[in-house]
């Protein structure tokens, strides 16, 4: 069966520790392993993927033990590990499990950070390389392009990639929820430490237009502000500067609160109640927790952000369960496609033989009836064709829709016997 020709051999972050994975990092050269695997006897099609968390070979062919062992040797060639160790650290999937695995990898269900988007791009690159070197055929083409569309389907129908799972990205995502697009917005940094710098970098990358740095010592503020083409002020000006800012990131080393609720009320009036997102990453805290009670003020401290991240991770795991269902459904669809691929040679063979038979019988009949007009000849010919089509209709239906895979296989073999497709002298001119 075709499905059994598909095999997936690999090493990932679950089966092998980083010490092992780094020994087989092919990051700079995916081409030579691809070429070597392509040369293995029994390999019809292949694709080779290498990222920092996984190395995988996707293989279509006579996936016997020798072929797999040869592919594994290519993977572990430079690692210095014995064959037994290599087998211990790697996994092998065949048939529907392999299809399932490829879909899961593409959809980032097998990733270290569930739902991270890079893996799809890496898989696409691997596919492109395989195409360029003519390593792929009908089955891998279909399997890989299907895996891309499965990944896309999962992205739109579940929110597996939707919620941020790092603190800095969670802050950006929240800012977007509150303020919409960040282009043109102003961010105010209180404190000129490393944390503030990192956060500002992140926001500038998201299109924030202006950075203002407020610091206890103006000198430090100026240095940091210069990096972002921003403005530097002393910390005392914080409240007045807050009237123009959309986001405040506070990370001073101050032991006391630097902004209290009472001080914020007039600022809000000055801002015409435009919303403001306050992020307090300082410990001890800089911003009065009661600020969150004000209308249009949204305050998150470091623990709140952490909590959001934890919740989002849980959400991703829940969404992953839904994604697994989609993968299972798509795997079944793919198996159906493979089964029909398998029927194709049988059906064409049958058609060819029957057409030969029909032509022979037609010629014989027409030769015996020399007096027929062209119209009558045509009618007889058409009758032959119609008879063949009508007779074949139900057998072909039976072949195509016969339930479970074992049933299908059994039916296929009965079908071939019934029509004598496995006998060599079946070209129609016996008798």
């Amino acid at each position: 069966m075709l499905a059994e020709k598909i095999a997936c051999l690999g090493v990932n972050h679950q089966t092998a520790p980083v010490e092992i994975r780094e020994k087989l990092a092919f990051a700079d050269d995916c081409l030579s392993p691809l070429v070597q695997i392509k040369e293995i006897v029994g390999c019809d099609e292949c694709c080779f993927l290498s990222t920092c968390n996984r190395v995988e070979v996707l293989l279509v062919g006579k996936a016997g033990d020798a072929t797999i062992a040869a592919a594994r040797d290519v993977l572990f060639a430079d690692s210095g590990l014995s064959g037994a160790e290599a087998a211990q650290y790697s996994y092998l999937f065949t048939g529907s499990a392999a299809i399932n695995h490829v879909f899961r990898v593409a959809a980032s269900l097998d990733s270290m950070v569930l739902g991270e988007p890079q893996i799809l791009g890496q898989l696409k690159d691997a596919y492109r390389l395989a195409i360029e070197h003519r390593a792929t055929g009908a089955i891998l083409h279909r399997l890989l392009s299907k895996s891309f569309s499965v990944a896309k389907r999962i992205r739109t129908e579940t929110s597996i990639g939707g919620n941020a799972v790092s603190i800095s990205y969670a802050a950006v995502q929240l800012a977007r929820k509150i303020l919409g697009e960040l282009t043109g917005k102003t961010v105010l940094l209180a404190g000129a430490g490393e944390m503030a710098e990192l956060a500002a970098e992140h926001l500038v990358a998201q299109g924030v237009a202006k950075v203002v740095v407020a610091n206890r010592t103006l000198e430090r503020a100026v240095t940091l502000a210069r990096r972002f083409n921003g403005e530097a002020v002393v910390l005392g000006e914080l409240a007045s500067r807050l009237a123009d800012a959309d986001i405040l990131i506070s990370s001073t080393g101050s032991p006391d609160l630097i902004l209290r609720k009472e001080a914020m009320t007039p600022v809000m009036r000055q801002r015409y109640h435009r919303p403001v997102f306050l992020i307090d990453i300082a410990v001890p805290r800089d911003l009065d927790p009661d600020l969150n009670d004000l209308d249009n003020v949204y305050l998150y401290d470091i623990d709140d952000l952490q909590q959001v991240v934890v919740a989002n991770k849980g959400e991703r795991r829940r969404e992953a369960d839904r994604a697994e269902l989609i993968v299972a459904e798509e795997t079944i669809k793919f198996l159906h496609w493979l089964e029909n691929m398998e029927l194709t040679p049988t059906i064409t063979e049958l058609r060819r033989r029957i057409d030969v038979l029909r032509d022979i019988e037609l010629n014989r009949t027409l030769a015996a009836l020399p007096g027929l007009s062209p119209e009558e000849k045509k009618a007889v010919t058409m009758m032959g064709t119609a008879l063949v089509n009508k007779l074949l209709h139900y057998p072909l239906m039976f072949l195509k829709n016969s339930g479970a895979i074992e049933q299908k296989r059994a039916n296929l073999s009965i079908f071939r016997k019934m029509f004598g497709l496995d006998s060599d002298h079946g070209s129609g001119d016996e008798r």
């Binding site: 509150i178 015409y272 709140d304």
Partner: protein, 271 residues
Amino acid sequence: MEFLFLLVFVLYLGATITAMVCFFNLNQRLRLMARTLLWAAAGLHTSYLVIRFVVYGQTPVASQHEAVSFFAWSLAVAYLAFRWRYQVKNFAAFVLPLILALVLVALSVPGQVVDLAPAMRSWWMQLHGVLALLANAFFALAFCGGIMYLLQEREIKRKRMGFFSARLPSLEALDNLNQHCLTIGFPLLTLGIISGALWGRQAWGDFWQWNPKEVWSLITWLIYAAMIHQRFTVGWRRRRAAIMAIVGFCAVLFTLWGVSFFLGGDHPYAG
């Protein structure tokens, strides 16, 4: 004709159910299906209104059935027009149930045409009905936006991002929606009230009689006028604007039904 309206209802029902299911499972095919169904429903609803207009020779805004059905139609059209200009994520899941409820009301009251007293028959009446109901449609959109705003804000304030947070647009987008709806709805309401006054003069000889319907229209108008004024002067936006949009729409509904039901008066479909 009753059958036609029933069909309109069934299409809206289908669109609403698909949109709600899609809101939960985010299936893109369902989203497309809901949109197609809504287009079909709105199209058929339009032909229903046109047929009524041609058969009875007057804009179908006079009876309770006609007014509510026209209200639902305006809401569908306003929603589709908005969608064409800019998109509000999952807006349909909030607007469609409202449309469906209105159609259901229209379906449950007698559909025959009312025989208006000669004094009542006037182009002003028809213009008044159309404008006021169109204004209501935009206020209804602002109302839906307001509810979405409060749901989204609640999750952000409580720091528990959950079900709604992932499905609703940003607070900014929802506040923009509120502003757009007001800037379209308010002028329509103003013109609606003016045309109503002109019709009143034609029918009863007086621009304004201080009957309950008129008083409540004025209250509604004042609420929205205050909202717009406050938004552009002292920055009543966001949360307050969202709450006001909900309050304002309650006033709209009371003017439309509550007045006739509790206070009486001689507006055409007051009964």
